[in-house]
Symmetry: C2
Subunit: 399 residues, 2 copies
């Protein structure tokens, strides 16, 4: 059996191409991944020295002496008069510091009487003045985070004068469920039939990873139809996921089809749930075969396919937050495999505590839907130790 | 000054309407918020007893005696023959347990010779059999998490036979920036002008919150234009956000317009960055006035508007993960206000460590774009204590 880490390394080493760059408007860019992370500021941000407060712009050298009022400086207003010794200009937050001025006294610390400004105390040089470029000086190399664009990054790009940005195209990921027993969601079931949960679930997982799912119609256990679906799917996709067909019963069917079109290796991975995984290529397109059980399919997607998709957009890792969580139960597992147990994690004191979300069989999807984290219990252990702490991978926000 | 908690309580108490339900296909439902969280399972999941392994279905009561092979049970295949004493049926993973059988012996523990199955040991009653309904029994009340729909929840809904689900319509949030100095992203700047960062940044923050942004053209400091924009914005929106116009300089302008159309209160909140906030109504539509500084606008959005938007979809809280993070620096703050300092948080040992992302002035957007968390430092403290731990609100995944 391959370890989880070895399997992931092989998947990522396998010549995954990055998607090309495309230009999107800033207003469509949230959550997208920048294709170029380093930008040079073309101008100062802010472009001019301005006031941090509503108040009066003046010269610090005049100390606490009264100043004669010359006029005002409003944000976006006409240029303010030059401030010289013994004078002041009324100024609004964000408005340009008038030429000559080197300090601002806030409204609360000053008083206007007829045409004169009286200050409580002498202002310090530069008081309440934001220098030009004090956020980002022109020529600065701004490096965007190794992450999808946040609201703040989009604001920063706007402040830098950008209205669009080059991002990696979302990888297109085709998804194929296989099995004679499968009926589409919503259809009436006949004897021996089940609803295809993997198709919609994997399509959702692909979207959550930042890629674009292409959900193919499920294929029966018929090599002609499987081949047709895989050819169609591979044509428009950067990556193809097939679920089912990695267990012994169907192994040969999917293997035969993919080997006719490209290449496929079957791996056994020391992971619970999961274990069987297939990896290959059709032309240059990677193909991953996931187990047919929805829980195994989603957990192996999380561990292996999500990092592949992120890599295709230039991101590292799986983009999940990890915490250490205490467990108060002995949760059994296969000693030979690394287990990813479905748990509910919640903050407790200065740390986190995890409680089993229920049945851990690979056919129990309800408990994965109820869980908010996967608890990682290493190879070599037959169960968690009550009171022990383990790594928990948070699948979403945790209260 | 209002505390952050008091302000939030008032905002949420203010009769926020929930958006109505709309039906979406399961394939469009990821990240949407279910309008009805409790569902009753209409049928067993799985609908029939089936095999957890590839192997042989038989009667446990036959012990370790050889069995005569009757045929096979394939997933989605024709009904398998009835298993009676002394007989067995070949079975694939997921295939229906043949009538009469009560145990499965996996391939690895059995051997087929001519028409006979030999087992290594007597199977236990129910071995490797998944009972009908062992994931979700018919009639079970399934409660979906108080969270946007995950991939696993979508898989579960599919397995329950659903192909669509009622979700809350995304709230429509209109966004208006005000200020004579503002130019749209990408435009060339004249003297005294800056790019409007708040519009694109708040639109992105609205999207991240699960709502639909309506970005209005920025309004100059002209009451007629502000009124026109606000009227247009309020018409199609569930919530209106105005940024700028809450500082003293512009206060009267925005106040006058909104009071003509509805009502508006100006609050001072013990928060850093932030402080001024306005809240009111135009008809039944809530209006929030955020500070003009991009950092203050985004942080007050995070603290106040994000929970409002979530409440409008029936979600509680802000949907952010919090960790305790150690700080090794004394980071200064205003003693009277609760500070939300921009930090980079990273796992360290069993916990988290936070490092300042840089300048904490409300006009420094670069450091908010570089931060992945807000460190909460309470009222009453003038700085963090080196070596102390504080709550950190994670703004996204943290490595």
């Amino acid at each position: 059996m391959l370890s989880v880490d070895e399997a992931l390394e092989r998947l990522l080493a396998g010549g995954l191409g990055m998607t090309e760059a495309e230009t999107v408007l800033l207003t469509d860019a949230v959550g997208r991944v920048p294709a170029v992370r380093r930008l040079v500021a073309a101008h100062d941000v802010p472009p001019f020295a301005n006031s941090a407060m509503d108040g009066f712009a003046m010269l610090s050298a005049d100390g606490d002496a009264p100043r004669r009022m010359l006029g005002e400086s409003r944000a976006g207003g006409p240029g303010a008069p030059r401030v010289e010794r013994g004078t002041a200009v009324r100024i609004m937050t964000g408005a340009p510091l008038p030429p000559g001025a080197d300090a601002v006294v806030p409204l609360e610390k000053a008083r206007e009487e007829e045409n004169t400004v009286l200050v409580e105390a002498a202002p310090a040089l530069g008081a309440h003045v934001r220098a030009a470029g004090h956020d980002v000086p022109a020529g600065t190399s701004v490096v965007l985070a190794d992450a999808p664009l946040s609201a703040a990054s989009i604001g920063l790009l706007a402040a830098l004068g950008r209205d669009s940005i080059e991002v990696h195209r979302r990888p297109r990921v085709a998804i194929l469920s296989t099995g004679d027993e499968l009926r589409p969601a919503g259809a009436t079931l006949g004897a021996g039939q089940i609803h295809d949960a993997n198709g919609p679930a994997l399509a959702a997982a692909v979207s959550e990873s930042g890629a674009e799912p292409i959900l193919l119609d499920a294929a029966p256990d018929d090599p002609t139809v499987i081949e047709e679906r895989i050819r169609d799917g591979a044509r428009g996709a950067d990556l193809l996921i097939v679920s089912g067909g990695v267990s012994v019963g169907r192994h040969d069917l999917v293997r035969t089809v993919i080997e006719r079109l490209g290449s496929l290796e079957f791996w056994r991975i020391a992971v619970q749930p999961g274990k069987p995984l297939a990896f290959g290529y059709i032309g240059e397109r990677p193909v991953v075969g996931l187990p047919g059980n929805p829980v195994s399919a989603l957990v192996t997607f999380e561990l292996f396919v999500r990092p592949m998709i992120r890599r295709m957009m230039g991101l590292s890792g799986d983009g999940r937050t990890r915490v250490r969580a205490r467990v108060d139960e002995a949760l059994g597992k296969d000693v030979a495999r690394r287990a990813y147990l479905r748990v509910s994690a919640a903050a407790e004191g200065d740390g986190y505590r995890a409680v089993s979300a229920g049945g851990q069989a690979s056919s129990q999807l309800l408990t994965l839907a109820s869980a908010n984290a996967l608890l990682v219990v290493p190879e070599g252990l037959a169960s968690t130790e009550a009171g022990g702490t383990y790594e928990a991978i948070l699948l979403g926000p945790v209260a």
